[in-house]
Symmetry: C3
Subunit: 130 residues, 3 copies
């Protein structure tokens, strides 16, 4: 599997682990020293993972990711990805609560770590919400 | 064309053939012995195709597929794909009927058959509807 | 970087340049003799770019592109791409104006020009609007 495919695989693995709220699988996608910048400010990997363990505002989510814009030199140990996503946060239809849809742009720095690509630095920018 | 590209081509060909309701093109994307599991239960290829010939509830559709999560060993004759999709089912604007949007997860087992990749087994899970 | 990746990079570069309304970056993605067919009829590159400089009806946009359907012979100097997109046109939340979402199908003929892939001919078909 070439590097571009491996990087796409990493992004899609993220989408599924996030939607399943599978914190162990999420942990494996990040470098131990990863830094995540998002709506909660800058967090280290473990603090960010902890925040994913909390109660969910929405029981179901779907992270629909567009093709990433990949910048990677041949054989390089680092890559940057810029990925558009629409995240569907779905309420329980019985609850009468509204759904939430977000447009997010993930800016990621990926590195090779122990033979695999992982996320070293992520900035998640919410572009819009409905 | 490498296998990953060929598998993506197959998925996008499916999207267009489904949106065009082109049953002959759909048939060519499945193995003759394919099994499709979806809202109508488990169907063989021909029974499933027959159900695609029926009248459409919505005149226009668009299958927007995210990048597939591809699992494929180098040179393998089989691959699995896990693909998120948002399917827009659009009513005639004159009709006053509401549109329908579905979040679907396609779990596909692909095989090489007569020199091409085709779908041998598909499970389509509707994750949400709006 | 292989040709398929380079073509995907071109499409994602288009999405970002269009959303940023960065006319110089857009110009670099098209052949000087490019022809763009869309809601304003057939335009040459420069006339089309000029129309992108005008005032925006919506302050924010997001071009979410599905995987392109790529047709490219090995080593060929031309490729065709067929890409589904959902374009979110977002109003200022303060304005009370409604957002607009469009389903678009981009049919592109790409060529190599001065060592890079660029768009020579584009047809943008609006499939639906909400």
């Amino acid at each position: 599997v070439n590097d571009h495919e491996a990087l796409r695989f990493l992004m899609q693995s993220y989408a599924r682990a996030a939607d399943d709220r599978d914190v162990d699988r999420l942990a494996a996608l990040f470098h131990p020293d990863a830094e995540i910048t998002g709506s909660r400010g800058v967090q280290g990997r473990d603090a960010w993972l902890e925040s994913m363990r909390g109660p969910r505002s929405f029981p179901t989510s779907m992270h629909l990711l567009a093709d990433p814009l990949v910048v990677l030199a041949d054989g390089a140990a680092e890559a940057t990805l810029d990925t558009y996503a629409v995240v569907y946060q779905l309420s329980d239809p019985q609850s009468g609560n509204a759904d939430l849809t977000l447009g997010i742009r993930y800016l990621d720095q990926m590195v090779r770590h122990q033979g695999r690509w992982v996320i070293l630095r992520r900035t998640a920018r919410t572009l819009w919400m409905r």
